[in-house]
């Protein structure tokens, strides 16, 4: 069993826990039980991993893949289905007894399949999966090119007289192969992929990734680096909410210039203080890439006062106080070149983000990045069920789903 620690961007219980390697039987037993709920499921060449939610935090379990398979979690935990399809398409492991075995990420367009298996074979079939829309319903097909400024995704709606009775999403169009690109690299070199999983939550993903590396190597980062991460994360959170307000207003054909103006003021301030409007690549394993620019504290403070409103006030004030009270000292402490395994967390604007990695002499042996998209995409189906087709753009605007976060 590997030494394992959980590092949070805010302390919650569960630190110092270890990954439990389960026997096939124990995993099968867990698979039959409804709890604990699943947070994420992923694999590598020989193992599958499940992150489970506990009352006091999370628990990580794993089991070896035997005869190319492992007992499926989807019968008791429907949320596992997309993860199981992803694990199959990337590593070739079959979830035995799964509720859904259709292709997910693999659209039959890659040179080899499964791309991350020990011995990849020829490409998979290029047929789209069977969609389960009932035959007596009218079908509406949307995407992957949807116009507007929307992420690539294919949506199928089964409609009767304007009412949506079924909805299926097929993703994978933005699969860039990030996990494979990260393998064999140092956490420092791989951080740019974590920063580019989801651009709108780049700070949160970079923080979860850096925390995983720091947990794997049992390193602490300087207090000033931690505080700067919190400031950047707080800015990203406010920006996300402002963009949400803009998107919802636009979906209702009533663009809100105030939200857009406030977001612009904050991005301009972030650019001056941290050198990037989205703060991409600013959080790195070991700390932050650079200290806040001279005058940055005042710039951020001014922008925050400008955007303060009744809804954002408590957060804005907290953030302003944090910027004003930055501890002195270093902003980076180099990580040792060593082996270990770690889990990192960040509470991102769209929900919890979990990153996991195992390091072998300073290089990433296996890695996974879990975006809140895995739990948010299924909400689309729930929100649209029984609703009107015309509601779709409003529902999409409120959910602000990212394809790249789950497409990997």
């Amino acid at each position: 069993m590997t030494a394992f620690s959980i590092v949070e961007d805010r302390p919650i219980d569960g630190s110092g826990s270890q990954r439990q390697a389960l026997t096939r039987d124990d995993w099968a037993q867990m698979a039959r039980e409804l709890s604990p709920p699943l947070v994420a499921l992923w694999g590598d060449t020989r193992t599958v991993y499940a992150l489970l939610r506990q009352p006091d935090g999370v628990r990580l379990v794993s089991t070896f893949v035997e005869d190319g398979g492992y007992p499926a979690l989807s019968p008791a935990r429907p949320i596992a289905a997309w993860f199981e399809r992803m694990v199959h398409d990337l590593w070739g492991h079959t979830a035995v007894g799964a509720t859904d075995q259709r292709a997910w990420l693999d659209h039959g367009r890659w040179g080899h399949s499964p791309p991350m298996a020990m011995r990849p074979g020829p490409p998979a079939t290029a047929e789209p999966p069977e969609f389960g829309i009932a035959e007596d319903l009218d079908q509406i097909l949307l995407g992957p090119v949807r116009g507007g400024i929307e992420p690539a995704a294919h949506l199928r709606l089964g409609v009767r007289g304007g009412t949506v009775e079924q909805l299926e999403a097929w993703l994978g169009y933005t699969h860039r192969g990030v996990l494979a690109l990260m393998q064999g690299k140092s956490p420092r070199a791989a951080a740019r992929f974590a920063a580019r999983l989801v651009g709108e939550t780049t700070v949160a993903h970079s923080t979860a990734f850096a925390s995983a590396a720091e947990a794997a190597l049992a390193c602490d980062i300087p207090p000033r680096a931690l505080a700067l991460r919190q400031v950047m994360g707080g800015l990203e959170q406010i920006l996300w909410r402002l963009d949400l307000a803009s998107a919802v207003a636009e979906a209702a054909d009533q663009p809100s210039s105030l939200a857009a103006r406030n977001a612009e003021a904050l991005r301009a301030a972030a650019n001056l203080a941290f050198g990037h409007r989205l703060m991409m690549d600013c959080v790195v394993p070991g700390g932050v890439a650079a200290d806040i620019a001279p005058g940055g504290v005042e710039t951020i403070g001014r922008a925050l006062r400008q955007v303060a409103s009744p809804e954002t006030n408590p957060d804005v004030r907290r953030l302003e106080a944090a910027v004003m009270a930055l501890p002195e000292g270093e902003v980076f402490a180099p990580l040792p070149v060593a082996s270990g395994e770690g889990l990192g967390h960040a509470s991102g604007p769209a929900g919890d983000i979990w990153h996991w990695m195992s390091l072998d002499h300073g290089q990433i042996a296996s890695v996974f990045m879990c975006d809140p998209g895995w739990v948010r995409w299924p909400l689309l189906k729930a929100r649209m069920a029984g609703g009107q087709v015309d509601d779709l753009s409003h529902v999409l605007a409120t959910l602000r789903l990212s394809s790249s976060g789950v497409d990997l």
């Binding site: 090119v145 699969h175 494979a180 963009d243």
Partner: protein
């Protein structure tokens, strides 16, 4: 040092690389004001842009939306977004062009009427960016379609996108007989 210098290296206009007037790093509003003045010269009609996510992280879309929203108010300047390739003058793609999206990109391009202008927005779209070498990407819009304009940056700032689109607008106007942007 000026954005114009970097832009000049990255802006390629298919109708004999039209020189782009220098774009200063001014405030967005003054830039917008100049654009507005430019847009009042006869340009025929405005450019209809179809955005395609070809594997973007969403960062380029953040800046594209910033550009479209109040601060940069794009539609006053002769640029509007459309949802169908059949109504699009410009295909504007972001992302490194994933293999899973190549066919959709080709189909959209085929369905466009002339002049079928193509813009690659962001480092990913320019040449694959940090994703170069992945099994899952084609490696930039140019691997799949003839590109008229490359706008680099990760993501490009709104001013930069605006400058690029303006160059395209002017080049497009010049390429139409009897219409001048000057």
């Amino acid at each position: 040092m000026t954005p114009w210098r970097t832009l000049a290296r990255t802006v390629l206009a298919r109708p004999a690389a039209a020189p782009v007037p220098p774009v200063d790093r001014e405030t967005a509003s003054s830039l917008a004001g100049r654009l507005e003045a430019g847009a009042q010269t006869p340009l025929g009609r405005s450019l209809a842009v179809l955005h395609i996510d070809a594997g973007s992280c969403g960062g380029c879309e953040v800046e594209l939306r910033s550009l479209r929203r109040a601060v940069y108010d794009l539609e006053r300047f002769g640029v509007c977004f459309v949802a169908s390739p059949r109504h699009a003058d410009v295909l504007l793609a972001t992302g490194p062009v994933t293999r899973n999206l190549v066919e959709a990109l080709e189909l959209a391009h085929a369905a466009m009427p002339d002049p079928k202008l193509v813009v690659a927005l962001g480092d990913c779209a320019v040449d694959g960016g940090v994703f170069k070498g992945s099994y899952a990407i084609a490696g930039g819009v140019g691997t799949t379609l003839p590109v008229d304009l490359l706008i680099s940056g990760c993501p490009p700032a709104p001013e930069r996108i605006l400058a690029g689109l303006r160059a395209l607008l002017e080049a497009n106007a010049r390429s139409r007989p009897g219409i001048s942007s000057r």
